[in-house]
């Protein structure tokens, strides 16, 4: 694999990139290989797979049958293409208007793995679960494949050879008419996009069709953020935070490390700030209603209802102002909130210029304004907080403009609606009744990856190209200009948004590459030349293209309430918070099995969403986990399963969006095929007045119950188990406050003392490498990037809700989540995250008991799992104290036998065996990557440098919590990390000598607030559920 950057690799990249797009023979190749452009039958696709067979077979333990096997070489092999050798290309993934840079690995023209682009300032090599799962989406057979026209007698699918002709003809005729009317009656509804190309075309459209309107809607919009900035700063400035140099961070319902568009960068910077440098580390205060990843990483977390946050900020502002004017702090009251406020204010003031206050999307513009004022008061602006202007950002409220549009649609003032992606019929505010309004529009056109709920209501639906198939560009949160380059020709012949707009504007045959290039030309001006363009495409970004920092100051007194009431709102006055889902985002990823099965970072919930309720509230409402409850809000009713969540603000109920899809696909729910929806559609409760936080919620238990597929706890925890778990957690996840760590840097060694242990087996001796891993619990934020990365790298199957309920999920690496503290006192609840994969024990218990020697120790200390030798006695699974071994109880790849799902096979990593039914599997330390690096190094007779072998989980980790390398090299990062005083081995008392060790967690509580939570109690709290 070529690390991008140096000239030599640049060239190889270049050549192969050329193969992919320019050389005529590639076109022939593409035609033959992506038959959807030719005919929709599965036959050619199978041939495609045979072509793949030229360089590898989709490996399976099933072994080789004695049937004749063909090798199909290229007629003319593209230059620089070596069959079976991976190549990597830089691209970018845009989500709700901001992009992250990616580096995609492609084998024989198949993108199979997504990584973060190390050169990109917004990912620095890290990535998140959503990006990791992109390849599965790319090969999703449920994706829209042909233009569909709605006619009286039902939908007409244009699947013939030139399937676009019908639509193109229609566009030509229809928009000729629209042009005459100067665009009157035309509305374009698009999701937020930072693509300069699209912005350029939008400008062209609005210039050529001045009567037309273009509006942007994102269900997870940032209206209040922009409004707040406007209030305080006069323009919709974007706030850029520098967490690396911040000492004190306060988040108000803001998930900086999880759902924030810049979360990857922030997670990296935050992790750096967690490193103890001369006795110092940053301190994070999280004030939030529902647990976020940020909250779980916080040193102090104050769970209050989102509705209380304004008052909280108001009081904080008061205190800060007092402190600044007369440095005497008002005596703190008795209540916990008072104490918290006092400590927080002092801390913020003490660290003036090195603090950050940030509020989240669901907070009001007023709160955001106040936050800007706070940052100004605390002199953070210009240091840890910077403001940039986003040229492409709208100055209007997405919700308001959508409202206006819908009323016009109702009024019949819109006759052509072009929906560029998105799914408003599903995710628009319920009270707008978008779907109904859609019927009033004469001509409706929807472009999208899937024929989703909206598409099914539009006269025309056309397939959009996946970002891995399309030429485009995008700007990341900090404004860095990134190129989106295709990894393969559109599988289903989809088109990019900009291509469609260009067509609407009457361009004959727009090529998105040309469109992007034109934008780029305009962007760089006279600096433009071919090599700059190539360099930009190769690197995936244009250096120094971030928005310049503006010097603005909040010149406005925020007006916020300051009265505070502690008492718990009655049923009927409860608060409902709609939150982004860690797996399906706003619902767009509902058909992605990897994401559906990826356990929520905190609830560990898969294949469902649930109403998160605090334990006191649950008692009040008489509900418990898995009871099906009716949520009543403004006349709307919704049946939702309850999940009792420690640390959830009492009186506030959190409900994830993005579930209950009825036209997502065979994975996420498809009513046409009678595939039930996954989870419940919480958009039905979401009105335009309260897009994020609604009050006046009534909750009633229905008496029914609903089984939730969680990968941990399974709710069936009795008193005995609860006490034991509480006793064990502090030993398993070792942590200490900063001052104790400074006093006893080796505290982790003394949590538990193990006598000198003798082994009855002689230990292995090693000449060469000794691979090992170290995981820093101080840095891990439990974001699940590693989980999905591992799934993508190692061909790990999706098993489905039923199997998860039976406890048969297959993830090789899991993130254990333990609660500490008193569930009855949410403010006291702490979370500990612990990623866990095979520890490759030196004296592995699994190796000893396998009767057929299918799992044995390698000469480099790996605990090899030999699938083809395994007969499935499962003895190793029993004997593994970490329970990291996964068994194929059934053939979890069954559905791939189906001809029209066969295309999903293209996502498989050819370097990893696909396991059949009846075989045990587990983490291999990405042995295929180790071997690749080793073979390459030995072929060239050079040694392997530290950091050359990178496991999938390590590569994905945005916080760089995982370190892998050669323990034999005492200078390697992992060796040094295992020498660290914080380093400890899990279950050392078993004398199994794990290869993976942990670095104990160091927290940094404020001295006035520091209280050691008693683990025993929280579990008590959970016990009742």
């Amino acid at each position: 694999m070529s690390s991008i950057g140096d000239q030599k690799n640049l060239k190889t990249h270049w050549r192969s990139l050329a193969d992919l797009h320019d050389l005529p023979e590639y076109r022939a190749f593409a035609e033959a290989e992506f038959p959807e452009t030719a005919d929709p039958g599965g036959v050619n696709r199978r041939r495609w797979l045979q072509v793949m067979g030229a360089s590898f077979a989709l490996a399976g333990v099933a072994g080789c049958e004695a049937k004749r096997e063909e090798v199909l070489p290229f007629a003319k092999r593209p230059e620089g293409r070596t069959p079976g050798q991976p190549q990597r290309f830089a691209t970018a993934m845009e989500l709700s208007g901001s992009a992250i840079g990616l580096l995609v690995t492609s084998v024989d023209g198949r993108p199979i793995k997504v990584e973060g682009n190390p050169l990109h300032p917004q990912s620095l090599g890290g990535s998140h679960a959503l990006a990791q799962a992109a390849v599965l989406e790319l090969y999703d057979p449920d994706r829209s494949q042909n233009p569909v026209q709605l006619a009286a007698q039902g939908p007409i699918v244009h699947a013939q050879k030139d399937k676009w002709s019908g639509f193109d003809e229609f566009v030509r005729q229809h928009f000729a008419g629209v042009k005459e009317r100067r665009g009157a009656g035309l509305a374009v509804l698009s999701p937020a996009s930072s693509s300069p190309t699209l912005t350029r075309l939008r400008g062209r459209l609005q210039h050529e069709l001045p009567e037309a309107r273009w509006l942007v809607y994102e269900p997870l919009h940032d209206d209040s953020v922009r409004a707040g900035a406007k209030l305080a700063l006069g323009a919709p400035y974007r706030t850029q935070l520098d967490l690396s140099s911040a000492r004190v961070v306060l988040t108000l319902d803001a998930d900086l490390l999880g759902s924030h568009p810049a979360s990857l960068r922030y997670a990296r910077d935050f992790a750096r700030g967690r490193e103890v440098v001369d006795g110092q580390m940053n301190r994070l205060y999280a004030v939030e209603s529902c647990f976020t990843m940020t909250g779980s990483a916080a040193d102090h977390r104050l769970p209050i209802r989102s509705g209380q946050v304004p008052a909280f900020v108001g009081r904080l502002l008061q205190r800060v102002q007092q402190l600044l004017s007369s440095s005497v702090s008002t005596p703190s009251g008795e209540s916990h909130v008072e104490k918290f406020l006092a400590a927080l204010a002092v801390d913020l003031v003490a660290h003036r210029g090195a603090g950050i206050v940030a509020a989240g999307d669901q907070q009001s513009a007023e709160v955001h304004a106040a936050v800007h004022q706070l940052n100004a008061l605390l002199e953070n602006v210009g240091k840890t907080v910077n403001y940039t202007l986003d040229p492409s950002a709208d100055d209007v409220s997405q919700v308001e403009s959508l409202k206006a549009l819908v009323s016009d649609m109702q009024g019949g003032n819109v006759d052509t609606l072009l929906i560029l992606g998105g799914n408003p019929a599903y995710d628009a505010p319920a009270d707008l009744e978008f779907a109904a309004a859609l019927q009033k529009v004469k001509t409706t056109i929807h472009a999208g990856l899937y024929r989703n709920e909206t598409a099914r209501l539009c006269q025309w639906h056309v397939p959009q190209a996946h970002f891995l198939e399309s030429w485009s560009d995008a700007r990341s949160f900090d404004g860095t200009y990134s190129i989106v380059q295709p990894l393969l020709a559109p599988l289903y012949g989809g088109r990019t948004g900009s291509e469609l707009v260009a067509r609407v504007l009457g361009d004959a045959v727009p090529k998105s590459e040309e469109l992007v290039r034109a934008t780029f030309k305009a962007l760089v001006g006279e600096k433009y030349n071919e090599s700059l363009w190539r360099r930009t495409v190769h690197d995936g970004l244009l250096t120094e293209s971030a928005y310049p920092a503006e010097t603005v100051t909040a010149a406005r007194e925020a007006s916020l309430p300051t009265e505070w009431s502690e008492e718990l709102p009655k049923n009927g006055a409860l608060e409902l918070v709609f939150c982004r889902d860690a797996s399906v985002y706003d619902g767009r990823f509902a058909n992605n099995g990897w994401l559906q099965e990826c356990p929520d970072p905190l609830t560990k919930l898969t294949w469902d969403n649930a109403a998160l309720v605090g334990s006191a509230t649950a008692k009040m409402l008489g509900v418990s986990s898995q009871t099906l409850a009716t949520l009543k809000l403004g006349g709307m009713l919704l049946k939702v399963p309850v999940y009792v969540m420690p640390g959830q603000a009492e009186g506030s109920i959190a409900l994830a969006l993005g579930y209950g899809r009825t036209a997502a696909g065979l994975v996420g729910g498809l009513s046409d095929a009678e595939v039930p929806a996954v989870g419940v559609n919480s958009y039905l409760l979401r009105g335009s007045q309260a897009m994020y936080v609604a009050t006046g919620l009534t909750v009633e238990a229905t008496g029914e119950s609903h089984r939730l597929a969680v990968t941990q706890d399974h709710f069936a925890i009795d008193k005995v188990g609860v006490h034991e778990r509480a006793r064990r957690v502090p030993i398993l996840v070792r942590e200490a406050p900063l001052d104790e760590y400074l006093k006893h840097p080796d505290f982790a060694q003394h949590v538990e003392h193990v006598p000198a242990l003798e082994s009855m087996w002689s230990e292995h001796v090693y000449e060469g490498h000794r691979w090992g891993m170290s995981i820093d619990l101080t840095k891990c934020i439990g974001c699940n990037a590693c989980v999905v990365a591992c799934q993508a790298e190692n061909n790990i199957p999706v098993v489905g809700k039923d199997q998860v309920l039976r406890g048969r999920e297959m993830h090789w690496i899991r993130v254990d989540r333990y609660f500490k503290g008193d569930a009855e006192r949410p403010e006291n609840v702490e979370v500990a995250m612990q990623p866990l994969a095979c520890h490759h024990c030196e004296l592995a218990p699994c190796e000893q008991v396998c009767p057929v020697a299918a799992t044995v120790h390698s000469s480099e200390g790996l605990n090899d799992m030999v699938y083809n030798r395994c007969i499935g006695t499962r003895y190793c699974g029993n004997n593994c104290p970490y329970k990291v071994r996964r068994f194929n109880y059934l053939n979890f790849h069954e559905e791939l036998k189906d001809a029209n799902r066969e295309i999903s096979k293209m996502v498989f990593n050819p370097d990893v065996t696909v396991r059949v039914r009846g075989v045990m599997e587990k983490c291999t330390y990405c042995v295929q990557r180790i071997q690749a690096v080793k073979i390459d190094a030995r072929n060239h007779g050079r040694p392997i440098d530290d950091g050359q072998v990178v496991t999938a989980c390590q590569q994905a980790c945005p916080a760089q919590a995982i370190v892998f390398g050669d323990l034999a090299d005492s200078q390697s990062q992992v060796a040094r990390s295992q020498q660290d005083s914080r380093s400890y081995a899990l279950l050392a008392e078993l004398n199994i000598k794990p290869r993976t060790t942990y670095l104990a967690k160091v927290r940094n509580p404020h001295p006035d607030l520091a209280e050691v939570p008693d683990p025993a109690e929280v579990e008590e709290g959970r016990a009742q559920h």
């Binding site: 039976r806 009767p851 078993l990």
Partner: protein, 457 residues
């Protein structure tokens, strides 16, 4: 002449081994007539059809299992072994009494064994057959199970001789073959008797072949006795070894609740315990149905109940020691499992059923009344078998909560699990009923040796 005291092994008065006015001929008749009568009692048919249908269910579910994958069971992670292994250990345990009775009691010259050893051995073989089914189908890829056998191959691979599972394969197969051989050898003279009495061609042929041309000459008898003695000596250590090795599957693993040094003796005791319980369960109705009351007398039954009582106490002791060791070791994982999770955890009901059935109820055998009332014995024996199944289940459920609370789980059996458990009884009873119908249920030749005539010059 009336036979008052036919026991020559003890001057003190004892209940006779054989009651009734039995003589050599009458014994032969009683035993042989069972197999010779034109058609067996209707009840036999009822029972046979019933067990045959259960066996059918087992067969079907096995086919389904192999076609679909072991996922049809409730097994999961962390409970990688579930009911199938519970059933395996249960049946292997049952398969102990037989060889114990025949071999060990034979070596100890316990003549009261003669009437019951044949039935007990048969039961052993059948139980081991049932046991054999489960590990066989338990592996994920049945079609590759032959890799467990050490044989030269082109992979250059050998099995892992460190694995208790491999020892298990050897132990059980050896035990099965030796007991079968022992049983068959003991049956040869009786088969010859049946051959000589046979009236139809088929019977003549079948028993003729089976009896390997037994002549009954003094020489034949001499050799026979030798061989029998040798085999008995050979089988005796196996009785103890097989269940010890089975227990290693658990004891050698490091799962809390499995990793215990007391397992081998504890398993053997438990096995004999359940084995005898099963013999009683079968012998009492059998002797009633087929009129063997004079051959299998109350004294035999009473002796067996005494063995049950003794072994019950051993098992009870083992339970106690487990708890003590857990407490005394102060190993937190052990303490939690034995003193917390088992008695009070989610599977506490199973634990207490086990204690009640295996330790408390058998204590009734202290009372002569219970030792001598057939229906009481049967009920107690049945409960013992329930208890012993529960014991294995409780052990298996140690898996639900091992080291990391994050991976704690639970086990819910599927219908297939249940069907297979019941089905295994179908297999067992089908074989047993066929045995009752076609083979001599009592070792005539041996019983005759304990008759006074047998000892007259």
């Amino acid at each position: 002449m009336a036979v008052v005291d036919n026991t020559f092994n003890d001057p003190a008065l004892r209940a006779p081994l054989i009651t009734g006015r039995a003589d050599l001929a009458s014994i032969t008749d009683t035993v042989c007539e069972i197999t010779e009568q034109y058609r067996p009692p209707r009840s036999w048919y009822v029972a046979f059809i019933a067990s045959l249908s259960l066996l059918g269910m087992l067969g079907l579910s096995i086919i389904y299992l192999i076609a679909t994958g072991v996922g049809v069971w409730g097994n999961n992670s962390p409970v990688f072994w579930g009911w199938p292994i519970v059933n395996f250990v249960f049946w292997v345990g049952i398969g102990h009494a037989g060889t114990l009775i025949s071999a060990i009691l034979f070596l100890f010259r316990q003549q009261w064994r003669t009437s019951i050893n044949r039935m007990a051995e048969a039961m052993t073989i059948f139980a081991v057959t049932c046991a054999g089914v489960f590990p066989g189908i338990h592996v994920g890829r049945v079609w590759l199970a032959y890799w467990l056998a050490p044989y030269p191959n082109y992979l250059g691979m050998w099995p892992n001789f460190r694995s208790p599972l491999l020892w298990d394969v050897f132990a059980v197969s050896t035990y099965a073959s030796v007991s079968a051989l022992f049983w068959y050898l003991g049956m040869i003279p009786d088969l010859a008797t049946l051959r000589d009495r046979a009236t139809t061609k088929i019977r003549k042929l079948a028993y003729g072949v089976a009896s390997l041309g037994w002549t009954g000459s003094a020489r034949a008898w001499h050799r026979y006795e030798r061989a029998y003695l040798l085999l008995a000596a050979l089988a005796t250590p196996l009785v103890l070894s097989v269940h010890s090795v089975v227990s290693f599957d658990f004891a050698v693993a490091q799962v809390p609740g499995w990793h215990t040094t007391i397992f081998p003796p504890y398993f053997v005791a438990g096995a004999i315990f359940s084995g005898f319980a099963m013999v009683v369960t079968l012998a009492v109705p059998a002797r009633a149905y087929f009129g063997l009351k004079n051959l299998i007398t109350m004294r035999h039954l009473e002796n067996m109940t005494k063995v049950i009582l003794a072994t019950s106490c051993m098992v009870g002791y083992a339970y106690g020691v487990e708890l003590f060791t857990a407490w005394y070791s102060q190993n937190p994982n052990e303490t939690f499992l034995f003193l917390g999770n088992r008695p009070f955890g989610p599977y506490a009901p199973a634990y207490w059923t086990m204690v009640t059935c295996n330790v408390l109820i058998p204590q009734l055998f202290w009372f002569r009344k219970c030792r001598t009332t057939p229906w009481m014995m049967v009920i107690i024996a049945l409960l013992v078998n329930v208890g012993m199944w529960m014991e294995r289940f409780v052990i298996m459920m140690s898996l639900t909560r091992d080291y990391l609370p994050s991976s704690w789980g639970s086990f819910i059996p599927t219908p297939i699990d249940v069907v297979m458990l019941i089905g295994s009884f179908g297999l067992f009873f089908t074989l047993f009923l066929l045995f009752c119908r076609y083979l001599p249920m009592v070792a005539m030749a041996e019983v005759k040796t304990v008759l006074p005539h047998g000892h007259q010059p």
